[in-house]
């Protein structure tokens, strides 16, 4: 069935609520309102207020109470209304949800999924487009998943819910409704920690995730048309743990790499991909790895965001640079 990412996510959540009575959804405006992006539309009506409910406006307690619920034995799926507000509950995420198993020596665990929209190019107010996935690399305990299409979104969300440990599931706002894709109505999973070659190629490995996947594909098409360059586009899908095997295999093949993400450059996923390539296949590298990323500034005002978010043109130039002799 043709589904937008929103419909795919709604379908996934509905199936999870149906399959497992322990699953509950909580967040701001997710009940009657169905979520500000309608991802939870109709779910409260279908499953009841006991299992799909709005909370007061308090991110730290949304996560904190979710930790308690998860320890008790429920499987909470908490929504943080925009990923920029993950800063507000960073402590309950990084020092609590991420560590309850660690701290308790396995006596207690936290099967929590935190969903949150992010991403630029959609004219949002401040802190509504920020990419914060990079922070979680330095705060171990969460898996981080960022789908680029409806089909992956549904399968990855199902896997996230099945995962016995905390998962942060970031949903790109620009991709929410940007296209429809054939997506099964029934339950299925896509494993976490596995990247996907959305396009195979020989000359350059372009690593991207979220809304940067279509950007990378567009640049790849132009590179092919303009100079016959054969681009391999790898959708990372899981940001932590990164699929190091896939990253390394691709660079061993091509010898040239570009990493694309909206998040600021420093210490981000791009830096870690470079570090992984450095560690495992430096000897295959023909050119410096290029990072095409947000700048090392806060996400700018809507009127200037298009200059900040990586574009196909920037990725294409990066491809050309790594193709230089």
């Amino acid at each position: 069935m043709q589904m937008t990412m929103i419909e795919a996510l709604n379908s996934a959540l509905s199936l999870e609520l149906e399959r497992d009575k322990r699953v509950v959804l909580l967040g701001q405006d997710i009940g009657v309102n169905g979520g500000v992006f309608r991802v939870t539309e109709h779910l409260q009506k279908k499953f009841g207020e006991r299992r799909v409910f709005d909370t007061p406006l308090a991110e730290s307690s949304i996560i904190g109470s979710s930790v308690g619920m998860a320890v008790y034995g429920l499987r909470p799926i908490a929504e943080i209304q925009f990923a920029g507000f993950l800063f507000v509950c960073m402590n309950q995420l990084a020092s609590q949800a991420a560590r309850i198993r660690f701290r308790s020596g396995g006596a207690y665990t936290c099967p929590l999924v935190v969903r949150s929209p992010y991403g630029g190019g959609v004219r949002t107010p401040e802190l509504h487009s920020d990419s914060v996935e990079g922070l979680f690399l330095q705060a171990p305990g969460f898996k981080v998943v960022i789908p680029s299409n409806p089909y992956d979104a549904k399968g990855l969300l199902a896997s996230a819910v099945a995962d016995p440990d905390p998962v942060l599931f970031l949903e790109n706002i620009k991709l929410y409704r940007s296209f429809r894709q054939d997506t099964p109505e029934e339950h299925y999973t896509i494993p976490l920690g596995q990247a996907k070659a959305v396009q195979e190629g020989e000359d350059v490995s372009v690593f991207a995730y979220g809304a940067m996947v279509p950007v990378a594909l567009d640049a790849a098409k132009k590179a092919q048309q303009e100079s016959g360059t054969s681009i391999e586009v790898i959708d990372l899908r899981t940001i932590w743990p990164l699929d190091e095997t896939a990253i390394v295999a691709s660079v061993e093949k091509t010898g040239r790499a570009v990493v694309v993400h909206e998040a600021p450059r420093a210490g981000g996923v791009g830096a870690e991909v470079i570090a992984i390539i450095n560690e495992h296949c430096l000897y295959s590298l023909l050119k410096p790895i290029e990072r095409v990323t947000g700048y090392d500034t806060p996400f700018p005002v809507p009127g200037l965001e298009d200059y900040y978010v990586p574009t196909s043109a920037k990725v294409l130039d990066a491809i050309k640079r790594v193709m230089e002799p």
Binding site: Q28, D29, G31, V32, N33, G34, V36, D54, P56, L57, A58, E59, S60, S61, G84, F85, F87, V88, R123, T124, P125, E126, L127, H128, R265, Y295, D296, T297, P298, P300, V301, P302, G303, L304, E305, D306, Y307, Y308, T311, A313, K314
Partner: protein
């Protein structure tokens, strides 16, 4: 004014009833000042409508109208001195206008550009992250006290914001440091789709204060005189080193949460209609007309002038050039880091071939 004791039964302080009749003692306001404040209330609403119209034309970004909340937003700012500070959410446009932030600056910001307020307005930029402005307000007040300046700070937030840790922490700091701050909660009945009743089991947000040792007041937020009165007293308390005040204003968000919201999904039109009867602008208008301080003709003149003012400001703001694509690099730090200088050049290289949508 008698300060209501916080108990399970609280009465909201009121001076002007829904019909525009005085039911309490007027605050010390000249007729000119009252008319001026009335005008700014009208301006606030019309200005909100203008931004909404611009947004529908694709010329402004997401905007949250203050329709229905004009008495609170104007009344809370009106007693302030120029040296006093204001830290609001995104809902208090009229407060910023009272404090002197130009309309064109605000419109320019809603075009999606950075629009510095004149520093002398002592208004922090509108705050998007709910509740975070409340500790800022307390900090501004703490600084004034440390410096020995006769300055008061005002923090304003919504009912939803009272659930945030920051709101409660700010209240506690205010109490401990006896900061010269006034913390105002605009209880407009909703936090997007979450009704007041689901935000807290407290009988009122005013009742939050005593748990932090902070003097608290509950006021009819659609009564300009009452808001002005409690605000003025709270500001004077603070300025005379008698400490902070928490003020809850009971009001209502007549419109949608923002231009991106559809309130018909979660609330009844009947409730909205009931609150329209308590419209703050109508109420004051009735008072003024009963007192012959305002005629229909006067009112129309005010509205026409406001429309002209708004149109002038809009033209000005729309005619202002978009900022340079790399403008935001100027605001990162006092000196641009070398690495950022390179990134700036990178942006410019592509900017000539790019256009950041249409404005």
């Amino acid at each position: 004014m008698t300060i209501q004791q916080i108990g399970s039964e609280l009465t909201a302080y009121q001076i002007l009833d829904v019909e525009g009749n005085l039911v309490g003692a007027m605050p010390n306001l000249s007729n000119e000042r009252i008319l001026e404040l009335y005008r700014i209330m009208q301006l606030g609403r019309m200005f909100s409508n203008k931004i909404i119209a611009l947004q529908r034309q694709g010329r402004a970004t997401t905007f949250g109208s203050l329709a229905g909340q004009e008495a609170t937003t104007v009344g809370l700012a009106a007693p302030l001195q120029p040296q006093d500070w204001l830290a609001t959410s995104y809902r208090e446009i009229a407060s910023l206008i009272v404090k002197g932030v130009p309309l064109s600056t605000l419109i320019y910001s809603f075009r999606g550009f950075t629009a510095p307020y004149p520093r002398e307005t002592h208004c922090l930029p509108i705050q998007i992250v709910i509740g975070t402005q409340m500790p800022h307000a307390v900090g501004l007040a703490m600084a004034a006290k440390i410096a020995g300046d006769p300055v008061v700070a005002v923090g304003v937030c919504g009912d939803g914001a009272t659930s945030e840790g920051d709101f409660n922490e700010a209240l506690n700091f205010a109490g401990v440091f006896q900061a010269p701050v006034v913390l105002v909660v605009q209880n407009n009945g909703w936090a997007i789709s979450v009704p007041r009743s689901r935000q807290s089991a407290a009988a009122s947000f005013a009742s939050r204060g005593p748990g932090f040792g902070v003097h608290s007041v509950l006021v009819d937020g659609n009564d300009l005189f009452a808001v002005y009165d409690v605000m003025q007293q709270a500001v004077e308390r603070a300025r005379s080193d008698q400490g902070p005040t928490l003020i809850e204003t009971l009001t209502y968000r007549l419109g949608a949460h923002t231009t991106a919201d559809d309130p018909t999904r979660y609330r009844d039109e009947a409730e909205v209609e009931a609150w329209r009867l308590k419209d703050p602008i109508l109420r004051l208008q009735r008072f003024l007309m009963k007192r012959n301080l305002l005629t229909e003709a006067d009112n129309q003149k005010i509205i026409d002038e406001i429309e002209e003012e708004i149109n002038r400001a809009t033209d000005e703001a729309l005619s202002l050039p978009a900022p340079a694509p790399d403008a935001f690099f100027d605001y990162t730090a006092a000196d641009l880091l070398p690495r950022l200088q390179e990134q700036r050049q990178d942006l410019l290289r592509y900017a000539t071939h790019q256009q950041n949508g249409r404005r």
